[in-house]
């Protein structure tokens, strides 16, 4: 009797703990998905380093910030953080011991996430192997090194509020709005910043220059934003990194697709598209080129730029920019060929497009070593003039300046 009771008790406990384990596992899985949606890994991992171990440098005009280690290491990570401390970091930008974060950490977006989603992210992070990694100290100059100053910044620019669905909108719209404004923190790059480095509330998603790349206008304006994209094109761009004739995600946005967006469900990507297509149109920034197509005939009198295009580019991109090798190589219709400064164009020529998960026909080698500044300027100018309408040209100095930009 006694022993059977014990046995029964033991079984019940085992069943209970199995149940708890399954619950934990579900919570961790949910947290993993949300951590992907919030793209935590991007800022908390140095290239080639341990995921989430921190140390990425953010160069600001007044010094450098380093992202912290958010693995559950007790000494160098967040292993000794309580739930409340983690919540306060994501909702209020105040970390353990009352340290105030700088808004390079997008708590002004994450604050929209409900408590249980934040705790799910914590559960996921705490399920990872602790990594011992002490990140460098921030090097901000006075007065920007005074963390308490962020108290006043927060008073003015931060609302500690959760996401409130708009009952007049569809469920998909609300889901999209939540993902874009909350965990996805799209505005952190795509919304211009004001004098105090806060997101400009009057120009949401109107585009911005970030880490030397154009984070284009993604408002619903058809000419300057994504208003002319179909929902399917947006989903393709977000989930696969390209929408032929509309955009190819490269540089930092390529990383966002790679680390974050491609892990989201199709329903969530469609929800994001639904929301983005209804945002307030902002008519500024780089304009899409008119879809007048360039001629498919080789251009034989375009000088050095045309010769280089013939040799190095036309094989994949085609003379009409339609992409011989793959629709991903489509150039016509891209903002990148219509930005008179050639910002992303030169970045891609210099860095290539080579994320390892991309298929062979979606990759592009870099031309940084193959050509000199004057040659890259010539081919860049040719591309702008052949496929875009700004008539802009680039100089060797423009290329030299871009060479210095590593994208981090």
């Amino acid at each position: 009797m006694h022993s059977s009771k014990t046995l029964f008790g033991g079984l019940a406990l085992a069943a209970l703990s199995l149940h708890v384990q399954a619950d934990d596992q579900a919570l961790i899985e949910r947290g993993k998905y949300l951590a992907a949606a919030a793209d935590c890994v991007a800022c908390h991992t140095v290239p080639g380093g341990e995921p989430f171990a921190g140390g990425v440098e953010f160069k600001l005009p007044f010094g450098s910030l380093y992202s912290p280690n958010i693995t559950p290491d007790q000494q160098t990570g967040i292993g000794d953080w309580s739930d409340a401390e983690f919540l306060s970091a994501l909702h209020e930008g105040v970390g353990k011991d009352g340290k105030r974060y700088y808004p390079a950490f997008p708590y002004t977006s994450y604050t929209l996430m409900p408590d249980d989603e934040v705790q799910a992210i914590k559960a996921y992070l705490f399920s990872l192997e602790p990594v011992s990694n002490t990140v460098p100290e921030n090097t901000l100059s006075f007065p920007y090194n005074q963390r308490w100053g962020m108290f006043f910044w927060n008073l003015v620019f931060h609302n500690n509020e959760r996401f409130e669905p708009d009952p007049s909108q569809s469920e998909a719209w609300n889901r999209g709005a939540y993902l874009v404004e909350g965990p996805g923190h799209c505005g952190e790059c795509h919304t211009p910043r004001n004098f105090a480095q806060a997101l400009s509330s009057s120009q949401p998603l109107a585009g911005n220059l970030v880490q030397g790349w154009q984070a284009y206008n993604i408002s619903s304006d058809p000419a300057h934003g994504i208003g002319a994209w179909s929902p399917a094109e947006l989903v393709s761009y977000l989930g696969k990194g390209y929408a032929p004739g509309k955009g190819v995600a490269s540089g930092p946005m390529g990383d966002v697709v790679s680390h974050s967006l491609r892990h989201l469900s199709d329903d969530d990507l469609s929800a994001i598209a639904t929301y983005l297509l209804t945002t307030e149109p902002q008519s500024e920034g780089v304009k899409r080129p008119d879809p007048v197509s360039a001629s498919a005939e080789p251009v034989s009198d375009a000088g050095l730029g045309g010769q280089l295009f013939a040799g190095a580019c036309a094989g994949c991109h085609s003379w009409d920019g339609s992409g011989t090798q793959s629709p991903v190589a489509t150039l016509s219709g891209l903002k990148t060929v219509n930005d008179p400064a050639g910002t992303n164009l030169l970045n891609i020529l210099l860095r290539g497009h080579t994320a390892p998960e991309l298929r062979v026909d979606q990759q592009m080698p870099n031309f940084a070593k193959a050509y000199q500044d004057a040659e890259l300027a010539a081919v860049g100018s040719f591309v702008l003039q052949h496929f875009g309408q700004t008539g802009a040209s680039l100089s060797a100095d423009d290329v030299a300046a871009r060479r210095g930009n590593t994208g981090h």
Binding site: S300, Q307, A310, G315
Partner: protein, 153 residues
């Protein structure tokens, strides 16, 4: 399983979707006339035709060629134009070491298909992605002009 038509023959191939067509053609089908040069679409040695258009097979996933007609150097001579191009190549003794030449012939045939009477500048533009380290460019140009003179199209 991928259904691939190469030189008029249908193949059922058990290869990864993203395997470059060049690998399939050379290593799986054993058609080694198509050459590997750079692997990044910068030299043209691997040029084949996809529905008559010149493509770099080193950066074309085999799945992108499924359901379309692939023609390699082994079969280009079966079309009248392809045969004329090859004859012109022989007449002008274009080939030096030969490594780039299957790609050159594939590109030239596709060019002449599009533009039956290309000017020198058009030849240069149309053939510019095909490198030849033996620098046979002048003979390539002469041979292409000759195909036109022979009234291929």
């Amino acid at each position: 399983m991928i259904q691939l038509s190469v030189n008029g023959t249908q193949h059922q191939l058990d290869v990864p979707d993203d395997m470059p067509l060049l690998w399939v053609v050379r290593d799986v089908l054993g058609l080694t006339g198509t050459k590997f040069g750079c692997g990044i679409a910068q030299c043209g040695a691997c040029t084949v035709h996809l529905d008559g258009e010149a493509v770099r097979s080193c950066v074309l996933p085999v799945s992108a060629a499924a359901g379309r007609a692939v023609t390699t150097i082994e079969a280009v001579g079966q079309s009248a134009l392809g045969a004329q191009v090859q004859q012109a190549w022989l007449d002008h003794e274009v080939v030096q070491c030969g490594y780039c030449q299957s790609g050159q012939i594939m590109s030239a045939t596709a060019l002449l298909q599009r533009q039956p009477a290309p000017s020198d500048a058009e030849i240069d533009a149309g053939m510019a992605g095909n490198l030849c380290r033996c620098a046979t460019y002048t003979r390539i140009r002469a041979a292409i002009r000759d195909v036109d003179a022979g009234g291929a199209a």
